[in-house]
Each structure stands twice: as structure tokens, then as C-alpha cells.
Subunit: 357 residues, 4 copies
């Protein structure tokens, strides 16, 4: 079970949902970066549950506590260690999970792989709660990128049958992304929020859950970051994005839409604009030959419905090896997509920063 990623910026995440603390170590950060803790808290609060009906009523206080690597608010270049103490965990809720794996959760393969030694309480190290340190690390990365005039931002593109407007791939601005950065329910078209909330509320009333899609952009990239073959920006970002639980699809620019396109429609022609080479369109999402083109990076991420639903489900009693019915108790998000926005931003920011160091 490896919770490490990165070549130059190495992130190591630890902790279990119902353990004493979760946290991370970020190794390889440049020295001298002044950290704006308020921005970090904002990103973490965007991920934190309990703010509205789309989220679990649990009250997680995600207060990051920095142990090392920062002196007088500025990075020292030494590894930055951070912990978040776990409070308000009710481990009793998960008792019957030990015997019966929850459908579409990691329970069953984790049971086979780690057997009785896996800490299953609250999902243990597999819990979505482990994305909190990722958001923290991503928020640090965003600030380092901001010093290079690079902005990362995302919005909820889809929840069920409700859709937001899509970003203008070739003309999205840092101002627009910064606006999204401040929103708890990040959408471009204000009307989308109501429709999306209705989708979530319907699922919740139905003891069900619902999936969605997040679109993320990076503006301000220099040309030529990344590389071809196995150093592609796409591969780098996909690897880290698939580390976010529930992500089942990652695509760039037109993504799967390319499958139905002609080259003459898909190709991004070049023109001179203000003395610089620009693409006329940006179907490729700012990446060609694995390298940045200078146009905005556009990545779409599919998020599956949270597997914890209150409806009874077929499962297997692993002790008796008999079919059985599972009713998951406890508090569950009917939709994690709104909370996942700052996670996706953080993952993308970390991937980009690692490529640029």
C-alpha cells in the first residue's frame, strides 16, 4: 500500500479515518515560500463535510497542524510535516462491515490483501478522509504556482442529469478560476447549482447517492513543460488524480469526444496573436506530445456515486460464505462531487508543480 507520489515534490500521506491523526509529509519544497494559511484553510473547508445537504452531517474539524518545514510562516526547504487530529469518530457504526464487504468499496480486495490486519474502521487508510492531507498539500502547491503566475481552478461540470456550463477551453482566465477557488459549491452558471442540489436531494431522499464530473483548468503554463512517452503531462496528472477515491475517468481537452471527430475539426491550428504563437482552438486541452502548449490545461474527471448508500444491498458474509443483505448504517454523503472540487484542484496543482521543479 503506497501513499507516496512525486519525483521532485514527494508527498507521503498517512493516517486512518478513525485513528489518532492523519497527515502528510511534503519533501522537496523550495525554501522561502511564504504560506498564506487562510487560503489553505479555505481549500480545506471546501473539502470538509457538513456544510450543507449535499454532505455528511459529520463535523470534521480539519485543522492542519504544521510540525516542521515552516519557520515564521515561510518554508525552510526541509520536509513539511502536517497532522490533523481525528475527533468525532464513531467507530461503532461500522461493525457489520467487518463481516460483509460494502459493494463498490475497497472492503473486499482490502480484506483479501490485508486480511484481519486492515484497520477497517471508517474505511481506515482507504477513507475519503485521507484526501484532506492531499488538499493541504495541493493548497501549498497552488501558492508556489501562484508565484509563477499559474492558477489552478475547477468547477462541478455535472451531477447526475444536471450540467454546468463548460469552461471556454482556449480563453479561461485566472480571474475566473480564482472566483471558482472561493466557492463552496463551485459552478460557472448560477442556475446549475439549484439543479444539481435537486439531483443530490432526490438521491438523498431515496437513500441513494449520485455521481458527477469535475472540470479543472490550469492557466499561465509556460510552453514545453512535460515530455513525450512516459513523461506526459496527461500521464502525470492521471496518475495522481486516480489516487483520489471514486475517480474512474480522466480525460484531456475533448477527451472521449475525440473518438467521434475528424482531424480537421479536432486539430488546433496556429495563429500569431500579439506577437506570440497561439492555438486558434484548444481541443487538446493545452497539451501536445505530452508537453504544454501554453494554452490552458483542461482536464475532466469522472466521479462515481459514493458507494455508501442506505438502501439494502446484496453482499456476502465472508465468515459463512453465504449470500446476505447489507444495510449500511452511519452518516454518508449522498454526493461527494462538491467536496471533491478542491481535492481535484489540489491533485492537479501537485502534479503540475512536480513537473515544473
Amino acid at each position: 500500500m503506497s501513499s507516496n507520489i512525486g519525483e521532485k515534490i514527494k508527498l507521503s500521506i498517512f493516517g486512518e479515518s478513525h485513528g489518532e491523526a492523519i497527515g502528510c509529509v511534503i519533501d522537496g519544497l523550495p525554501a522561502g515560500v511564504k504560506l498564506d494559511m487562510d487560503k489553505i484553510y479555505l481549500d480545506m473547508s471546501r473539502r470538509a463535510p457538513g456544510k450543507d445537504k449535499t454532505a455528511t452531517p459529520r463535523l470534521e474539524k480539519d485543522i492542519p497542524h504544521i510540525l516542521s518545514g515552516v519557520l515564521n510562516g515561510t518554508t525552510t526547504g526541509a520536509p513539511l510535516a502536517m497532522i490533523i487530529e481525528n475527533t468525532n469518530t464513531k467507530s461503532g457504526d461500522y461493525s457489520n462491515v467487518l463481516a460483509m464487504p460494502r459493494p463498490s468499496h475497497s472492503d473486499y480486495p482490502a480484506y483479501v490483501k490485508y486480511n484481519a490486519n486492515n484497520d477497517i474502521r471508517g474505511g481506515g487508510h482507504f477513507s475519503g478522509r485521507l484526501t484532506a492531507p492531499l488538499v493541504f498539500a495541493g493548497a501549498v502547491a497552488k501558492q508556489i504556482l501562484a508565484e509563477k503566475s499559474i492558477t489552478v481552478g475547477a468547477h462541478i461540470a455535472q451531477i447526475g442529469n444536471a450540467f454546468d456550463d463548460m469552461l471556454d477551453k482556449n480563453n479561461v482566465t485566472s480571474e475566473q478560476l480564482e472566483r471558482l477557488n472561493k466557492m463552496t459549491f463551485a459552478v460557472i452558471n448560477p442556475d446549475a447549482e439549484e439543479k444539481m442540489r435537486a439531483e443530490v436531494e432526490n438521491a438523498r431522499m431515496d437513500l441513494d447517492s449520485i455521481g458527477g464530473m469535475i472540470e479543472c483548468a490550469v492557466v499561465g503554463m509556460p510552453v514545453g513543460v512535460g515530455g513525450n512517452m512516459f513523461d506526459t503531462v496527461e500521464g502525470k496528472l492521471a496518475q495522481i488524480l486516480y489516487g483520489v477515491p471514486a475517480v474512474k475517468g480522466v480525460s484531456f481537452g475533448e477527451g472521449f469526444g475525440f473518438a467521434g471527430m475528424l482531424g480537421s475539426d479536432a486539430n488546433d491550428e496556429y495563429c500569431v496573436k500579439d506577437g506570440e504563437v497561439k492555438t486558434v482552438t484548444n481541443n487538446n486541452g493545452g497539451i501536445l506530445g505530452g508537453m504544454t502548449t501554453g494554452a490552458p490545461i483542461i482536464v475532466n474527471v469522472a466521479i462515481k456515486p459514493t458507494p455508501s448508500i442506505s438502501k439494502p444491498q446484496r453482499s456476502v458474509n465472508l465468515e459463512t460464505m453465504e449470500d446476505d443483505t447489507l444495510v449500511i448504517k452511519g452518516r454518508h454523503d449522498p454526493c461527494i462531487v462538491p467536496r471533491a472540487v478542491s481535492v481535484i484542484e489540489g491533485a492537479v496543482a501537485l502534479g503540475i508543480l512536480d513537473l515544473m521543479m
Copy 2:
């Protein structure tokens, strides 16, 4: 520019399209694997161009020549080095590319990154031709996996508006995949081929190109391969798949379809079957919590239309920094999707083997 990938099975690919030779080194292979060279040649010939109207009329003879790591047809455990000599290259065809970047190719970011030192002839190290060593390495990986009763196979799921049947996610068999392994134009539904060929022929007649989608499956996986966070099967396969030029989307199981689904429809319930725990459905594509569930791995890959089209396109003269019109001469595939099938299989096989060593 890194052309290395893998943690336990390390693949290093080298060569330029119009250089003396291309090839690869595979480090970390187990000793004692008897290689069936015919199967390797078959996979390479499926990738090779010139077999029909969907492909470029160039005649590449992709004969892999093994230099080391194999003795009497069996791996020794030492690094396996292989070269393919380049023949029949006509470098003259690409002369005007030097001044004007081809839209949606790597030319422009490569120009910025490597300037005059990049070998631009035939795409150089960025050429799709570099997928030949990847197919070779993948074919070797497939044989090692076969010894563990694991089979990898893929088919053309879509070309433009023509669609093949999709694999039965929960019940695809190794026999079905092996049948696909032998096909030059790999489709499940024989009717699909004609429609797809028509799409390609229309694009070709129009001096255009066309994209598509490949669906790949792995059957026979044990439970628990991979890991959560940054060791996920999804992240591992995505990273290597994005190393294949023209790939712009990678998804697993229902992929982007999850965005519109309810949890109760998306979840894969469990049942006991022949004394073993099985999923009733396989919407998650055989992966939960980043680990294999034992159900078939299902991955979908979006391939953009080949950017080399014969239609005139807007580009920029990098010397004069003026808008200009580019007409790409030379021989180009109107559709690389059929040839990409064995590349995708190979990439997936390598990723799986690396996870299992």
C-alpha cells in the same frame, strides 16, 4: 524527455523515426521465460502500417532484433535489449515542417523546448513509430502474464460514428480476448468492421483523419493487486497509456458514465458463486480502492484523429512569425485506431506485469 517507465519491470525506449534504429531495453524480467517469437511478431505486425486502406502505405518492416537477455529463446534475467533497424524512410517529405509546426502535433512545444536540436525528421523521437518497441515489450509481458493465466485483449469500440459491441464487463473470457489478439482489425461484431472502414475511407477521400476508442480487458487477475492512494491500478495503467501518442482519455468500467448514475445502479453487489465471492455486475471495471477485485479489468481509451491531414491548415512560420498555410505532404494514416489496438494491449500488459512482480 523521459522514455523510461516501470518500477520493477523498467522499460527504456529509444530511437527516432528516421534515425538508424529504434528499440528498447526491458530491465527486471524474470529468468526462464520461454519466448514465443511468432506471437511477438504477430502483435508487431498488427501495429505495423501498410496492410490496408486504414493505414499509411509506407512499408515498415518491424523485425525486432534481440541483442541481449535471451539465450536459446529463454530469458536470462539480464536486461533484454532489442533493436529495429529503420529502413524506407523518406526524410525529404518533412522539410517544410521545420519552419511551420503541424497543428495538434508535438512540433511546436518540442520546438520551444529543444529548439534546433530536436530531430524533427518523421516526428523524431515523438513519432508514433516509437510505439513499435512498446508493442514488443508488451508482447513479452503478455507471455509472462499468460503463464499466470492472465490474458489481455482489446478491440476497436468506436471509429467516428461507427460502433462495435462492447465487451460483457463481468463475463468476458480469455478465449474471446485471444480471438481478438489474432485479428488485424479487431472487432467483436463482424458488421462493425464494414461501418468503421467506411468511416475511415470517407475521411481518407476527404484528405482528413478520424478518431476512435479502444476497449481493453484483462481477465484472470487475482484479487488485491494494486493499492489505494498512489498505487492504484487505474493510475498505473493511465500513466503508461498516456505514453501512447494520441491518447486523450482513459477511463475504467463505466468511466464517465458514472457521472450520470445513482449509487444503487452503479454499485457492484456481491454474491457467492461456485464457492467464491463474485460481483453481480462489474461497473467498476474490476478495480475497487485501486485494487483488483478478481473481475475483468475494463479500460477504455480515447484516441484522437491523427493530426497529420492533407487538407491545408492554418499555421505560423516560426522564422518570420507570420500566419501561413501549411500543406502536409507525405504518407499519413487516415486512422490509427486499428493499428493502436496491439499498442494499447501491450501498454496494459506492461502495467499489469509491473504491478504483479
Copy 3:
């Protein structure tokens, strides 16, 4: 500044000498290992200062506090995070170090590299105190190796002009190493301790410090661990051993003695013993072609005198760029060799475990 090491067992160390806490994350540990905390505390207390006149009078309470990865005293397979809170730090002592680099310390290159952002208090992240998490991780590794009947142990071979007996390279036993494991001043020949303590006391009285050498052995290794070229046991161990501050030499078996030897004296001939292939001698320290031979691994490590001495020394005022005289105040070990024994053991155990996973 990277404090990460390991391919399968990934160790990430963090913290500064005078920060809030130091600690580590160990990623990739097997699940189900029952940890004997007393043994871990013993190794940490062997490293801890303040026990006798060879060590600094500071009273560090190195109580490791496990945050994750262990449930009911047993590893879960998830990352093991551990912190040690820093107490009893007197930062005032190091004030003049900011302007004048201490000879043979990391101060000067760290000043150039990190400038004003480096946390210089107590050596910051460069402090020898950071070896405490390494001892912790090594103690965990030793327990996992013990389950495979592999024992790691070391002794003080030399301090100044005082020498211990050397291990019998071909016949050292696990019992002997376990005896050394329990000693605070680990020597084979009891007479050596007195002579060594006299060397240290003389240096201390002289406001000076003194260097030494540690010999470490690993018994119980299977044949064939490691590999040739860049996977050698020697290279792996050297890389991690050079991560221990003050280590300036690492050699195996006869080490630098080989330079004066004939092949006929140096070669380890083979014989059959109890039905198994054994080497008659073990000049190569249990490693041939980078792989273990089954004979004990023998590694010697040179430790330079601790650079913090109380004698006045020539240095440079970095602000005025003028020659000046530095008098280092504060509490310093005249000899760190006795405390380094469990650090070297831990580093070797970690390296071996990583090779064997």
C-alpha cells in the same frame, strides 16, 4: 533536500532539531507484524544522549508516538507515522552560528543553498537528532527481519587509538549480535570499553572530539538477495548509511584492505559443509556480484569526529566577509560513535528489508 529513501519500504523523515516535533512515515510495511515496543524503545535509548560522559548532557526524551499504521500493536499495512515531540531545546545557544558557519558542519553549504530560510536552530533538519526516527524505523525493520531469522548487530570497532576485537567474518552468530543489540556501549572485548572511554574523556577534557569506526553484521541472509550493477547490496547499504550524518567511509568485508592483497589470499574458496555450499573464508563480507552469498554481511563504517568542539576555531563572518574566530557554546558530544551504533544497525536493517520485500 530529500529525506526519502527506499523503493518498496519508503521512509520519509521530517522535523528540525528545535522544531515542534520530529518523526517519520514508513510506507510499504507488510500487514500483521506484531511490534515489540520494548525492543524499539531499547534501540532508541541506545541512541539517546545523556547516559554517560561520552554523550551530551542534554536530556532528550525520545518517546516515539505512533499516529497510524498500527492497530492493537500490529501493523495494518497502511503507512506507519510516528512523531517524537521536541522538548528541552535551548535555541539561544546557537545564535552566533547564524553569522559564522561552524567548521565541518553543514552550515556553510546550507547557508548558500537555503539562505535565510534554513532553520539553523540546533542544526535544524540537518541535526543528528534526525537519526532518532531512523533508529525507530530501523528497529521496526529489525523485527520484520527477525521473523525471517535475520539478525542485524553492530559494535564499536574503533575510537581514536582504541580498538575492539573484530567480528569473525565467517562465523559471527545471531546470538553474538543479539548480545551486542542490548549493550549501550557495544563492544566485543570488555577491555576495549575502558580504553575507548579514556580516549573520549581525553578529548572531552581537551574541549575536543574524536572519531571512530563501527562494524556491523547481518546473519541469516538467504543466497541471491540484491543484484549486480546498480542493484548491489553494497550500493544499497552505502546509500542509506551515507544518510547518517558524520559517516565518511563505507566498506564491505576486507574493504580497503583488498588494495594490498593478492587474489589467492582474497578469494573466498568454496566447500561443502553439512550438505550446503559454504565459503571457507568471508573476505567479501557476504556479497559477491552485488548479491548475498549466504555468509554474514560485514560492513564497516567510518565516523568522523563530531565537528562541534569547544575549542576556538577559524571561521568567516558571512555578513562582513571577514575572517573571525568562532567559539561554539552549548552542549556537545565529544564522541557520537557509541550512540551511532543503533543508528548504523537501523540503517542496515532498513536497507536489507527494502532489498528483500
Copy 4:
């Protein structure tokens, strides 16, 4: 068996002594470096055998043939692949080695690890011949370092009981190193050569072999390259140096001499010289806290006597598991130290370059 090393400059070496070809792929080289092939040939000829009585009479023609990554004599930034064809191999000479492992060779652990699949002819992938691609890669690295005014050079410090003068650790110059770079028998004191040759000749006449030590220096390093903990210059160089067959000790500056020193003698005090901070002495070999100090890097490498000697030796028949006597036929170097000089230089140059990219 991994023959890969490097984080930014990734080197992959392949080939077997008696296979078709050996070679390497160097990934991550900067674009635009003009290669002086004559200098590369010179380094390779310094390693090549057969020039005088210290070496094997085999005539290896080590002509490197570049397959990719170089266009018009200049690096393109794409992976540089190089092969050397094997000629003049007489595999028959090694027949009895299959049954009886040669003392102090890799034969026995390789037999246990790879069993019958290992290509044992001429040492296979374990052969010292595999250092030829390392010299090639090192020669390329030296040229890239030379552009940064960094020079790497080495000399034979010891063969048996014959000693050369040692480098002046604090004042060695690039001119001195460049002189050594051109010598086939690299010594500082011309008198040393004769004594060393006598040592070798005596061993040869005695059907024996003899060991030695090489001292290597790097001048022109900027301050602050490398890092503490697991990014040390020492650890990096040691890891790659232990990849050279027969290396059994690696130390820096005073190395094992530190064990007998007082801090006041060992410490390198600072002074201002020509407006810059300099160390008065350089006992630490140009490295403090794992980082370069700007003083010359000084590394010493112990080379064991080549294990192939013509004297009868005790070994074991692995088929009958009985004690037996081995007489190694074939052509063997009585001393590989003179040939190893350019190998050590190359290994050090590669390690330094990787740290600096």
C-alpha cells in the same frame, strides 16, 4: 537484476560478455551538447584490455556505435542509445565454470538466483566488460560537466604494496586532472608506475592477481549540490561506484582515517580568500551535510584483486555437491586497477551530473 540508475539522467546498461552486443541507453540528456567523439574513444581505450602486461591479452574492439539521440554530432535531447558489438569471444573457455563456481565471482549467488537460465559465458551480464557502456556514458557526462567548468579525474593510488602520491585535497586543479585523463596508466608520481607494474608482474608470474585503490577528484563544483539525509553526494556516488564490479570500499576525504582523528585536526576551518569563503583544509573531501562545499570532491575506491586467477582453487561441484578443485582457464587480467581508472571517473561523472540536472 537491475542495470538502471539515475533520477534525472537515467542510464540503462544491457548486454552479456559473449552475447551479440552490449550497450546502454542514456535518458534525460540535455539537447544541444556537441560530443567530442575522440575524447569518448580515448576514455574507452583507457578501459579496453590488451595494451600491456597488466591487462588480459584479449583484443576487445570497443567501438561505440550510436543509434539514436545524436544528430550531426549533437545531442537532440532524445534518449541516446549506443551499442558495442561483441567480437573475439571464445565461449569454450568457460565450460567447467558451469559446474563449479569460481571463488569470489558472482557465479554462486547467480546460480542460486537465476539457476540454469543465467548466461554464464564470459560472466554474462555480470562481466566486467559491462563497464564499457558505463565508461561511454561517463565520457558523455564528463563533456556536459566540462561545459560547466567541472573536471573529473582519477589516478591509481595503490596497487598491492606500491603507492602513488595522493592528490592535494584542497588544491588539486583541473589541469592536473586533465593530464591524468590522458594517461593509460594514470599516476601522479612517475616513479609509482614502475613499482606498480612490478607488483602486477609478480602476481602474473605467480598465476595470481592483485588489488588496488583509485583516488578520484572533481574540481569546479558549485556550493550546495546534493542534500542531507538521503540525497547526499556521498550516498549518490557510492551507489553508482558499487555498481562497478570489484569495488569493495568507498570513502570521502580522510575516509577511514577519520576514525583515529580528533575534531580539532579533522575540522576544515574557514577563511576568506580572494573575497570568497574557502576551507583552509579539505579533510571532508568537498562535502559537508551531504552537500558540496566548493572544495574539490575527493573519493577513494578500493578494488579487490580480480577473482579469476590461474592457481588451482577449492570449489564445489554443484551437480554432485562434492568438494573439488577448480583450475580457471582462459585469459585474465592480473590487475584491473589501471583499466578501472576511467570507469571510476565515468561513474563519478554520471553521479555528479545526475545531481546537478
